[in-house]
Each structure stands twice: as structure tokens, then as C-alpha cells.
């Protein structure tokens, strides 16, 4: 087999999940994308074919979700699937738009005493993987506000 193309010309940034929107040009902030039912106001992470709360099939409104929220609950995962570093904080964060998001909490030692239900957290993104084509896979994570 010929040597693989190692050039970076076609290298892209790919979000790890479809509801993470990366900025189109350098300097644009990444954000979580959601949708809102125009009939009942229910909000969703990502897009929906119809509203699963009220069953309306009217078109949904696109919304840009806040990058700040509060820690609803968490677990400290000590045993996981092969290859996943442990321990880490697996959490559910509530965003002000009424959407909850599953995420890791970073920037804090994974111990229950360092985390408080309801504490403010903020989103950031980082590269977590390079795929076989050399593209960067970008994930979102949350961390306590003030780095604490």
C-alpha cells in the first residue's frame, strides 16, 4: 500500500456529538445547539422531528444554548469501559434554557467532597482525539466557574 497522505491540508475539526457547533472561522466560540417547540415551549438539545412533549409537528425554533449552567447531579465513575481513564466526574448539567446536558466535569479532583449540587459550571471545548484522516475530534466539557 502506498504511504498514507500525511498532509494537513484537508484537516478539519469535527464535533464529537452533532449538537456541538464549532465556530466557522478562527475565534468563533463553540456552542451547544438546541431547538424549541413553538407550540409548548419545550426545549431540546439538538434537533427533533417533532415535539416529544406536546407532539406538535410545527417547525422548531433553533436556539443557541448558554455556556453557563448549574451542576444538577453527578457520579464519580471508578470503573468504566476499557480504555476510558478513571476516576472521572460524570454529570448532568442544567442550562438556563431548560435543557439538561450529560457531560464530564473537569478541573476538579474527582471526589464527592469537591462538588456541590447546584454549583455554577461553564462549558469549554478541547481536542480529545485525532481520527485516521488527521481530523481533530472536539468535545465539550464543563468545569466549575472560577476554576474551583
Amino acid at each position: 500500500m502506498a504511504e498514507a497522505d500525511t498532509g494537513t491540508a484537508g484537516k478539519k475539526e469535527i464535533p464529537i456529538l452533532p449538537f456541538l457547533r464549532l465556530g466557522e472561522k478562527a475565534g468563533d466560540a463553540a456552542y451547544l445547539f438546541g431547538s424549541k417547540c413553538t407550540s409548548c415551549g419545550a426545549t431540546y438539545l439538538g434537533s427533533r422531528m417533532a415535539c416529544s412533549k406536546c407532539c406538535s409537528t410545527d417547525p422548531m425554533e433553533d436556539i443557541r444554548l448558554s455556556d453557563h449552567g448549574e451542576l444538577h447531579v453527578f457520579s464519580i465513575v471508578h470503573q468504566s469501559a476499557p480504555g476510558i481513564p478513571t476516576p472521572y466526574v460524570a454529570a448532568i448539567v442544567d442550562l438556563p434554557e431548560g435543557v439538561s446536558v450529560r457531560c464530564n466535569i473537569e478541573g476538579v479532583e474527582p471526589d464527592p467532597k469537591n462538588l456541590k449540587f447546584g454549583m455554577p459550571v461553564e462549558m469549554y471545548t478541547e481536542k480529545v482525539h485525532t481520527d485516521s484522516d488527521g481530523n481533530d475530534i472536539i468535545a465539550f466539557k464543563f468545569r466549575p466557574v472560577n476554576g474551583k
Partner: protein, 380 residues
């Protein structure tokens, strides 16, 4: 719906059977249930078979090849952890509707040492799984977080959850069908390695292999076969209704509450009328939540309930006299039928040293994440 009765039940000891195929486990349980009912395959008019991990492999028909190919309709059922209990309910519906008089429900599973299970869905970009990078969809984290919600709301402690595990492991020592029969202290449970806080190793159910079966008949027909038919007073199945966080943290509470309400109404009973409960204690945290979901106590009282020993055999309302999923094991397709089997044994007074004395009404509850909830109420 006309009255439906359970005439025969059985389960094989849960554990690991690497030398067997899954349909052999199911066939073994089916033969025992037929014998318990005093019938043969020739009497069975319809069969339902619950199996999750071989859902595409016609497990029901494979069981019949071992025990009797009479050409009857076979329904293969998959519904996550509620697979077996959903198969049971399909058998119940077949008879209750008047379409059939005699049905066989079998639940079987072979998981071996499968490890941690996930709720499925949510593939990532670039061929990389988001698991462990964007939170966790694996069951230990999900049920850790579900327990944490109760801690947040009511100040419940890790020790409360640990006491659930202590109780269930203690119950298991009298259940010869349990995968593990090991009594342990609160210190043993609390000091075990953490799997996903607040659950430690002994607060998580094992994976394994097993099978269970039940023979159901119309009440009218059942009386020709037994003097102790066990009436299925309610058989309810719900899915998760919309709730805000259900989309990220599976809501195991609302669909259980909905199912419980419907089951109590259908059976014409109140939670106080129950003599025993087998519920879905896949993790110790889950059992505590379901005390409130099933109305066994008031809101926020589940911690007090375990503190005061109300759910121990001999207590106000024994929960998981079998040892629960925590000790008995949780071969997914078999679990729901095995819970019903346990309740039937108690109502018949056949539960040996773990017998809940004088039991007349029992409830079996199962949750399959994703989500499906079944509640079956059995009455003497």
C-alpha cells in the same frame, strides 16, 4: 379482560453456564414450569419468549425444538431489562383477551461476564464514542446519578443506599436460586471499591446467565388444574413520558409511578395491602427510589424506611426477599419472570426459610432503561 391465573412457575439458579446454550436454559425452566402446572407442551396454546441479547435469534422457537414443536404461535420479546416481564404480560394479554386459554412465558439470558451495560444510542463524530468524554451512558453512572438526585433532594446518604445492599445480601442466604448467597456487613459494603459513586461493588447487581418460566391460564381453566391458582390482579406496562431531564438522565421514577398508579387501580388495592415486593434493584440506589415510586412510603421517607428495617423480611413490607437483583443476579431476559416466580412461591407458602409469612398479595416491578416499566400484581 377476564381473570388470568398463574398455575406453574420455575426458575433455574442464576449464575454462569458457559457450557450451555441460552435456549437450553430456557427449555430447562420451561419444563420445570410445565411440571409445576401439571401440564405438557400439548396443553400450551401460545408461547412468549423474552431474551435481549439474542433478540434476532428466535430463542422461543429454539426452546420449543428442545421441548415440543406443536406449531403454536411464538412471540419473541425484547424490552431491555423489562424483557422477561413484558413477555409475561404478552402471555397474560393473550389469555385475558379471551383469545387463548393456556400460555407459556419464558425468560432467558446468557450474559457471561459481559461487564458494564449501556443504554444504547448516541454515537459520536469521527468514529469515537462519547462515553467517558461527554459524561456516561453506562448503567453504573446513570444509577449513581439517579441516587444522587435523591441525596440532593432529601439529604439521603451513601450509607442509606449501602443498607439496602446489606438487607438484600442477607435475604439471599436463604435463596438457593441466587447467584450469590453471601451475607455482608455495612462496613463490607461501604468499604468495597467504588464502581460509580455512590454505589460500591456490592451495591451493583452482577451479570450472569439464567432462565425462568410461568404457565398462565384463564382462571376458569386454572381451577381444573390447581386448588391454589394465583390471580394476576394487574399487569401493567409503561414507557417514559416526556420530562425535561429524561433525555439526558433516564427518568426511572415517572414511568414507575405511572405504572404503580395503574396497577393499584386495576387490582383494587393500596400499597398498604401488599405483603411483599420484588422490585428492580439493579443498583442499591434504584431500590431506595422505588420505595417512594411504588408508594411504599411517603416522599422523602425512603431513607428512614431502610433505617428502620421496614423492608426486611419480618418488617412492615418486605422488599426483595429473594435477595433481589443485587444477590440473585440479573440475566436480563429472565429477571422479570423470576421476580414473578418468587412472588408466586411466597403466595403459595413455598419460599422456604425466606418465606414472608401469610403473604396474600405481592408485587413484581421491573425497569428497562430506555425506558420500559412493568408491574405485575399477584393475589392468592
Amino acid at each position: 379482560m377476564r381473570d388470568v391465573a398463574i398455575v406453574g412457575v420455575s426458575m433455574i439458579k442464576f449464575g454462569r453456564y458457559p457450557e450451555k446454550q441460552v435456549h437450553e436454559l430456557g427449555a430447562q425452566a420451561a419444563l420445570l414450569a410445565l411440571k409445576d402446572a401439571g401440564v405438557t407442551m400439548k396443553d400450551i396454546e401460545i408461547m412468549t419468549s423474552g431474551n435481549l441479547y439474542q433478540a434476532s435469534a428466535m430463542v422461543g422457537q429454539r426452546i420449543l425444538r428442545e421441548i415440543g414443536q406443536t406449531g403454536i404461535p411464538v412471540i419473541n420479546v425484547a424490552n431491555a431489562c423489562a424483557t422477561g416481564s413484558t413477555a409475561f404480560r404478552e402471555a397474560y394479554m393473550s389469555i385475558g383477551s379471551g383469545a387463548y386459554d393456556t400460555a407459556l412465558a419464558v425468560g432467558s439470558e446468557q450474559m457471561g461476564k459481559m461487564g458494564l451495560l449501556g443504554g444504547g444510542g448516541g454515537g459520536g463524530g469521527g468514529g469515537i464514542s462519547p462515553e467517558g468524554i461527554v459524561g456516561s451512558g453506562l448503567m453504573p453512572a446513570v444509577f449513581g446519578q439517579a441516587g444522587a438526585e435523591h441525596m440532593r433532594k432529601y439529604g439521603t446518604t451513601q450509607e442509606h443506599f449501602a443498607k439496602i445492599a446489606v438487607k438484600n445480601h442477607k435475604h439471599s442466604i436463604h435463596n438457593p436460586y441466587a447467584q450469590y448467597q453471601v451475607e455482608m456487613s455495612l462496613e463490607d459494603v461501604m468499604n468495597a471499591r467504588v464502581i460509580a459513586w455512590p454505589n460500591t461493588l456490592y451495591m451493583c447487581c452482577p451479570t450472569g446467565d439464567g432462565a425462568a418460566a410461568a404457565v398462565l391460564m384463564s382462571m376458569e381453566k386454572a381451577k381444573q388444574y390447581t386448588t391454589t391458582p394465583i390471580k394476576v390482579a394487574a399487569s401493567v406496562l409503561t414507557s417514559d413520558p416526556w420530562s425535561q431531564r429524561d433525555l439526558t438522565l433516564p427518568d426511572v421514577n415517572t414511568l414507575t409511578r405511572n405504572a404503580a398508579k395503574e396497577a393499584y387501580e386495576t387490582a383494587g388495592i393500596e400499597p398498604d395491602d401488599l405483603d411483599l415486593v420484588e422490585l428492580h434493584d439493579c443498583f442499591a440506589t434504584a431500590e431506595l427510589l422505588h420505595y417512594e415510586n411504588l408508594g411504599l412510603c411517603g416522599e422523602g421517607e425512603a431513607g428512614r424506611m431502610i433505617d428502620e428495617g421496614e423492608t426486611t423480611i419480618g418488617g412492615r413490607i418486605p422488599v426483595a426477599p429473594s435477595g433481589g437483583l443485587l444477590s440473585k443476579g440479573h440475566p436480563l431476559g429472565a429477571t422479570g419472570v423470576a421476580n414473578i416466580c418468587e412472588v408466586v412461591w411466597h403466595l403459595r407458602g413455598q419460599a422456604g426459610d425466606r418465606q414472608v409469612e401469610g403473604a396474600k398479595v405481592g408485587l413484581a416491578h421491573v425497569i428497562g432503561l430506555g425506558s420500559a416499566c412493568t408491574i405485575n400484581v399477584m393475589q392468592k
